[in-house]
């Protein structure tokens, strides 16, 4: 039951733990990932990559490679009728823009022949001067990453430019009591999903192409394959295999691998399997955007925020398609506070480095890191307690958001903050830790944030659900969104069971097959439960009405209003023994010509942001988080131990407490990585740590004690009132750790990730 909501929530299958429907297959090793597939006569594929960050291919000779025994097909950029499918990412290219650009691909009888073939390709390059940083990319006369591209102005990608305007910042800065300026930077982060990108392309004799792969957007994957083969989408099919993690990232390289496998399958007429190595995956796949965040804040001595001006520059890397991220970044850039005057500018620049893309948070972990520390600095500047300052300026229901949106729904942050303070003894510890002198110092830090649910103003947010009820009473559910490990199939099973009033054991939620359901966009933006599942609920409710009609008209011979469906039985209201079991009605429905299935299409509420004026609505609703982290730092070695994390989340309504908690635990691990562990080492555009032995993610021994606090709120926007959870679980973790370090050490932290050496330097510079 909801602690806060007034919405009646008397549900049978929601708000309770149900074992994941895919867990048995995964725990027994039966779950089939793309790399596990095998077809007779199958070939093995791989690519040859550039050793340089910026170059032109002058000459390529594949004669020796073609002569390697077992090599069946060699293709180069010269064989492509269309070099790219979407967003300029090239299947292969002779203009190298980063070290993940491929020049040739091979299909061979086995992996040994593939390796020998790739080694036998001779390429002559002309090296060009790469641009590696934001500063280099923006310098006058800088070499261009995308020369001649009308979407670029120098190295600035015009589509990533976005802004917000509210009030008059110049006037506010002139009038306010204090102005504080800070610049922060953040690094690349690797998704490190455990399944690397893999695809198996299988051609058939009728010219159709089927690709089996695990990716975040099967319809995009289909597009990559169709474009690579010159086929219409209708003759290209993508079948989603079990996905071994995505976190936003299984899209671009997954698409390229899909396309490359498909073109080799088309050329050879044989099934082709392409599995990336871990090194290839880290070298070529997208990363979290590194940002340079320049802020200027105006405040009065009474603690009231007056103005925020900021310029947030994202490193796009070599390619890009994430103009939507600038939207999310600009909406969240001033935090969850009342700011009367706002000037936010977001821009993206191309560099000859690994491409940036969607990663759990999508712009927000970077700006939260900046603002949640910055506002503590602002409070310090005016001699006010930081938490008092934040609470004083917090957005309330009915207030106008920095982007111009009136906040119509409940905002439960004050209660969340009070409870988390009580649970963690925050204020007492924070004061106590401010004046330590020993070698080992403790710190406690808080981060407060909000997150727009679903895609909102970024792009259309639609989903499709096709359900079929069979005469044996079983229910099949085909959805356009993907189980990537987050628990979508289980959440959808519970939601459909509730909407259709049927035992979840009768339901099978299938993985996506592009031949059987309608394009529902990408599995991202933590949108699949809050928004995507609304088509599942609609389909369930519509199907239930059809079955009640059958029971009423054909079995009870009574008006439909007189029949209800409850606990697996159709019941004639007011007649205690007049009950027909679920399966009998399904059977009658089938044999009497009842509509056996239906497709429900959901479109999220229209959200309008006026991009010309820079104001409007961001998202249909928001979720809220408060995280407190407690750390210990060794001032002699720079070692940081995260001891305890208390994440509080406004879940709206919890569909499955166990899977929500699982998201939170995993989000903490990833957020810790962003703050302290995960530093993608780059030298001249080359990634130095392209495997998990050198790119360090949290192990079980690094993990703190985690005590999640789940809140519910009275917000009807999402499916059954649920809100997003995947990204909220990680976005505020790093900034809470950073604030704990500030508390322990009394120093500002301008860049993450921090490692021991950087912490040592902070203390001893």
């Amino acid at each position: 039951m909801s602690q806060y909501g007034e919405i009646e929530r008397n549900f049978k299958y929601l708000n309770r733990n149900m074992p994941r429907v895919d867990a048995q297959d995964k725990a027994t090793g039966r779950a089939c990932y793309a790399a596990d597939l095998s077809f007779s006569d199958m070939l093995f594929a791989g690519a040859l990559y550039s050793p340089y960050a910026s170059a032109k291919v002058l000459h390529i000779d594949t004669t020796k490679a073609q002569a390697v025994p077992g090599v069946v097909a060699v293709m180069t950029y010269q064989d492509l009728s269309k070099p790219f499918s979407w967003g300029y990412y090239c299947y292969m290219t002779d203009r190298i823009r980063y070290e993940g650009d491929a020049v040739a691909i091979i299909a061979a009888e086995d992996e040994q022949a593939l390796k020998a073939g790739l080694a036998a390709i001779e390429v002559e390059y002309e090296q060009l001067t790469p641009v590696l940083t934001i500063e280099e990319a923006l310098a006058p006369g800088a070499p261009l990453v995308h020369e001649g591209n009308p979407d670029c102005e120098g190295n600035i990608w015009k589509h990533a430019t976005a802004f917000v305007r509210k009030g008059d910042v110049d006037e506010a800065f002139a009038k306010c009591d204090r102005v504080i300026e800070r610049t922060y930077t953040t690094g690349n982060v690797e998704h490190a999903y455990f399944e690397t990108e893999a695809a198996v392309a299988v051609p058939d004799k009728n010219g159709r192409m089927t690709v089996y792969t695990g990716c975040a957007n099967p319809f995009f994957g289909r597009r990559w394959a169709a474009d690579a083969c010159g086929l219409p989408r209708s003759k290209t099919r993508l079948v989603q295999t079990t996905v071994g993690g995505s976190f936003g990232g299984k899209e671009e390289l997954a698409g390229l691998v899909t396309g490359r496998a498909a073109m080799l399958a088309q050329k050879t007429g044989r099934p082709v399997k392409y599995v990336t190595s871990r090194e290839e995956s880290i070298r070529c796949s997208t990363k979290r955007h590194p940002f340079r965040l320049e802020y200027k804040v105006g405040v009065n001595l009474d603690g009231t925020l007056q103005a925020v001006e900021c310029k947030l520059i994202e490193t796009c890397g070599a390619y890009h398609m994430h103009e939507w991220m600038s939207f999310r970044t600009k909406i969240h850039a001033a935090g969850v506070y009342n700011v009367p005057n706002v000037k936010i500018d977001v821009l993206g620049v191309f560099t000859n480095t690994v491409t940036s893309g969607a990663m759990r948070g999508y712009g927000s972990p970077q700006s939260i890191f900046a603002t949640e520390q910055l506002y503590e600095e602002v409070a310090k500047e005016i001699g006010m307690d930081a938490l008092t300052f934040k609470k004083h300026n917090l957005l309330k229901q009915g207030d106008t958001h920095p982007c111009g949106q009136v906040m119509k729904n409940e905002i439960i942050l004050p209660e969340m903050i009070d409870q988390i303070c009580e649970k963690t003894d925050y204020t007492k510890k924070h004061n106590e830790y401010e004046h330590q002198t020993g070698t080992i110092r403790k710190g406690i830090g808080m981060s407060i944030c909000h997150r727009g649910c679903g895609l909102g103003g970024e792009s259309p947010d639609n989903s499709a659900c096709l359900i079929t009820v069979h005469d044996d009473g079983s229910v099949m559910c085909n959805v356009g969104l993907v189980e990537v490990g987050q628990g979508l199939q289980t959440a959808y099973t519970q939601i459909l069971a509730e909407a259709l009033c049927v035992d979840p054991a009768r339901i099978t939620v299938n993985r996506v097959d592009t031949d059987t359901v309608v394009d529902s966009g990408i599995t991202a933006a933590s949108r699949c439960t809050v928004m995507g599942a609304q088509s599942v609920q609609m389909a369930g409710e519509q199907m239930k009405a059809l079955l009640i009609e059958t029971a009423a008209k054909k079995m009870f011979h009574a008006p439909v209003e007189m029949v209800e469906l409850k606990d697996g039985f159709f019941q004639l209201i007011g007649v205690p023994n007049a009950m027909i079991p679920w399966q009998a009605v399904c059977e009658c429905h089938h044999w009497t010509g009842g509509q056996g299935g239906l497709l429900a299409w959901y479109s999220a509420p229209d959200v309008h942001f006026d991009a010309e004026k820079g104001c409007g609505d961001g998202f249909p609703t928001y979720t809220y988080s408060v995280v407190v982290s407690e750390i210990e730092v060794d001032t002699e070695t720079g070692d940081v131990k995260v001891c305890k994390v208390t994440p509080a989340h406004d879940c709206g309504y919890v569909i499955n407490p166990q899977t929500v908690t699982g998201q939170i635990y995993g989000g903490v691990a990833m957020g810790m990585g962003f703050a302290l562990l995960e530093d993608l080492g780059m030298r001249n555009g080359h990634i130095m740590n392209s495997n998990l032995d050198k790119y360090v993610i949290a192990s079980s021994l690094d993990m703190p004690k985690i005590e999640p606090l789940l809140f519910e709120s009275n917000d009807p926007t999402g499916t059954y009132g649920a809100k997003s959870m995947g990204e909220p679980a990680t976005e505020a973790i790093a900034s809470s750790i950073v604030n704990a370090l500030r508390n322990a050490l009394g120093v500002e932290i301008k860049h993450i990730p921090l490692n021991k050496v950087k912490i040592f330097e902070l203390l001893h510079k």
Binding site: A23, A192, F194, G244, G666, L692, M703, I706
Partner: protein, 157 residues
Amino acid sequence: MITIHLTINGEPVTAEVRPDEMLVSLIRRRLGLTGTKESCCVGECGACTVILNGKAVKSCVMLAAQCDGKEVVTIEGLQLNGELHPLQRCFVEANAVQCGFCTPGFIMTALAYLSEHPNPTRDEIRSAISGNLCRCTGYEQIIDAIESYVDQTNASA
């Protein structure tokens, strides 16, 4: 090529292997036992963990030829008559599985460890699985699953 004889999940297997062929390749490619996963291939992540003569090993850094005469158990060898192994059931019930790619490796590591340490503390479990990495779960529910298995096993002993 080298001829080796070994036992995999109780079945005798004879195979011709290349000198540089890894155990994971033998298991996955030749025997089709794809429950054992390949992720880093440098012995770091533990997704490829199998039990070799009672000890958990990372099969991506173990030469197949080294396994001549030995007994290998993979995730496929745990079920009896189609029933989940009790530890697998604990993983399912504790929500210890998300994307699932690391799951078989964790289960094999835990089983090998528990065969020698039947009564570990939570901290000892945490330490025992630290050679296996997971990107989804933050490990907490994996530790819950193993702890619950230990409790059940001890309660029924």
